[in-house]
Symmetry: C2
Subunit: 419 residues, 2 copies
């Protein structure tokens, strides 16, 4: 137990892809740390995640203005930056230990997904092996929702709400025009390995005839003939067909459809985009007028339509992480536990990082029907509470307020890092 009376400092870093509410978790960490000045001295925020730790580019949370603090709860993306960088080399781990020592870091809060959970655990183990008194706690986030041992991952609920809202709105548009215009609409959503985001789109459907009519997820192999038949039957029955496809869907041989050899006018391989591939397929096979959408980062940054539930959970995991650290819980993740689905009740619990790291939670098969195309009641019960509640950001001049995220770095104590 970290029962020393001397206040130690803390380090917070965001890692991997950002989300509409990742900064709210930072707010939760900052808020909780401020309530324990007797236990935690300074809270340092790493710029661009672990890179900021390696390069000693740190912000002292005490220097944030009230406006900057408030912006954390209302602004998407990473206020302090994030990075895609997996710690691998010994030199990097050594440097981290040096940083912890130089700044008297006793607490390490790492906000990220599965890879980061693994890094968080390794850093904690290394520090301990070097005799450092470091408490590492993982703060979960990922729009992919593929972290195990937590009911959901902060960030996911807001993206799900964006997707369900978008497909409902666009679906009404297609329905209005279908007799003389677009018959098939294909919307591609993020999700390289798991179909959580695509499946959540099913919340928009009130019944079998309202969009989305067909959901395609990576967990179920894409069968061209079966898909085309389903599109054709839906157009026949409803007059139009709305499809939501995960970017990571694969054929029976495991090949990504988005990498199926498409080339552009310059002869270059086509970048991503499973939606245009499916659109061309439908057009070729059925001759129907097709439109497609790829919201890409728009979904991941969609703070303007964040889920209030998701926002609340993002704050709660940040606050709880600090609480767990102060209770002496080491190498844990602040996980969301579902107590009850309707009405949704949940609490935060500490789960061992060793059980989290490098495990991907895929979509349960029974969340989609036998055909694999539509959300079941089991799936609806899981997803429904996660998108509930609105938490609109402040608008200035008709747009979500642009934050002022200019921060000063703390004085460096180490020589520059050379890898």
């Amino acid at each position: 137990m970290s029962t020393s009376t001397r206040p130690r400092n803390a380090l917070y870093a965001q890692s991997g892809g950002v989300t509409p509410v990742i900064n709210a978790s930072a707010w939760g960490v900052i808020d909780a740390v401020r309530q324990h000045p007797e236990r935690i001295g300074s809270l340092f925020l790493a710029r661009n995640g672990i890179l900021g730790a390696l390069n000693e580019a740190l912000i002292d949370a005490a220097t944030l203005t009230d406006a900057q603090l408030a912006s954390l709860k209302t602004t998407p993306a990473g206020a302090f930056g994030s990075c895609r960088h997996k710690l691998k080399k010994d030199a990097e781990f050594d440097r981290l230990v040096a940083l912890f020592e130089a700044h008297d870091i006793g607490y390490f809060f790492y906000n990220g997904g599965g890879d980061s959970a693994d890094t968080c655990l390794k850093v904690a183990e290394l520090a301990r092996s070097r005799g450092l008194d470091l408490t590492a706690v993982h703060v979960p986030k990922t729009i992919d929702n593929d972290l195990p041992l937590t009911d959901c991952s902060p960030g996911f609920g807001s993206v799900a709400k964006y997707i369900a809202t978008s497909v409902r709105e666009a679906g009404l548009d297609i329905a209005s025009m279908a007799p003389t215009s677009t018959k098939v609409f294909i919307m591609e959503v993020m999700g390289r390995h798991a179909g959580w985001t695509a499946a959540a789109a099913g919340l928009a459907a009130a019944n079998a005839d309202t969009p989305p009519h067909l959901i395609l997820v990576p967990e179920i192999a894409f069968d061209e003939a079966r898909f085309i038949a389903a599109v054709s039957q839906t157009v026949e029955r409803v007059g139009y067909c709305v499809v939501v496809a995960s970017e990571g869907i694969r054929d029976g041989e495991g090949r990504f459809l988005a990498e199926s050899g498409a080339t552009d006018a310059f002869g270059h391989a086509q970048l991503g985009g499973v939606a245009p591939v499916l659109a061309n397929l439908v057009k070729a096979k059925l001759g129907a007028k097709v439109h497609w959408a790829v919201p890409d980062y728009l979904q991941r940054a969609s703070r303007h339509i964040a889920s209030a539930t998701d926002l609340e959970q993002a704050i709660a995991v940040g606050q709880a992480a600090v609480g767990f650290a102060l209770e002496g819980k080491r190498s844990v993740m602040a996980a969301i536990v579902r107590d009850q689905a309707t009405p949704y009740r949940w609490h935060i619990a500490a789960v061992p990082l060793a059980d989290v790291a490098n495990r991907e939670k895929t979509l349960p098969r029974d969340y989609l029907d036998a055909e694999g195309y539509r959300l079941t009641e089991a799936g609806r019960e899981y997803f429904a509470p996660l998108i509930r509640g609105e938490a609109f950001p402040p608008f200035v001049d008709g747009m979500p307020a642009l934050p002022d995220w200019r921060f000063d770095n703390v004085t460096k104590r180490l020589v520059p890092f050379k890898d």
Copy 2:
């Protein structure tokens, strides 16, 4: 002047692509008609635009429930459907005249863009030549904002707000991750012939270093070398580059970039999508990591982030159209007149349809800077008021409410139309 004391009936039809607020104009027409029972008897709403008129698929506005009426102000897309169908054949015009006679239509309200304005005028002229006492008034709408003689077109402000919001949010995302991830982000927006929607994205930029950094519009020929140099310089200066491109940009020879010969794995010509074409170009020339987004119908149906100003104007043109008709103004459009930019003040005026039909208003060159890439102060002054104010729809279970748009048709009086 239509001073007859016998109440005549009215016909309302939506035409062409729908918008986030086109139904609000329908509400305006219905609301104004209800206030004049002594002048207008029944108001018929054509299903799927002029097709409903041809097929005598009409809804009596008096049968709409209060909930249905309320949904018109809060739901995107066409409650009664719309269509892409340009009246051309004599048989179609003859049929319309027969419908007007059968249902004693004295007022025709046509809600559409430039093509529809032309149709509205032709219908009015034909009816008059056949001795019918018909007053036709055009209700403007188009997200393309290319109608002349009106400050803006209802629908545009909401799409502009969606685009400015989306590029601001996604821009923050790119900025967070740029050191180790995506360097260039390209967002494609609607606008086949005019760059209004793309240019409005410039509202999101607080200065030359905030997104969007480069705006591409159809009015300015795309110059590959100049574009690549601008992207490269922006990445050099800012660390990343956000591009907003109109779907309709063309090269120096007038060829659409989106139709530049791209083919997919099946050998089919690639459907639309200028964003992936630009993304591949940037990737090939600069080797940078690129992401791209094509929101497509999501922007046109984005009622969840509608502009309150746009919504107010959409209602006002509908109400004013009825007023103009009752004042005996024939073959006019209810146009928005800007009295003052800051604070924005406007009123509705009747402009002759003959001056509106078949004229496209393109983006003034001075709304973009000398390079053609960034919004100028003149452009900002024009666009800024149009996206002001929020008008969130009612949310149910975390999503914008799904309307119940089941309507009964009125009894037919004509034999089926055979073209």
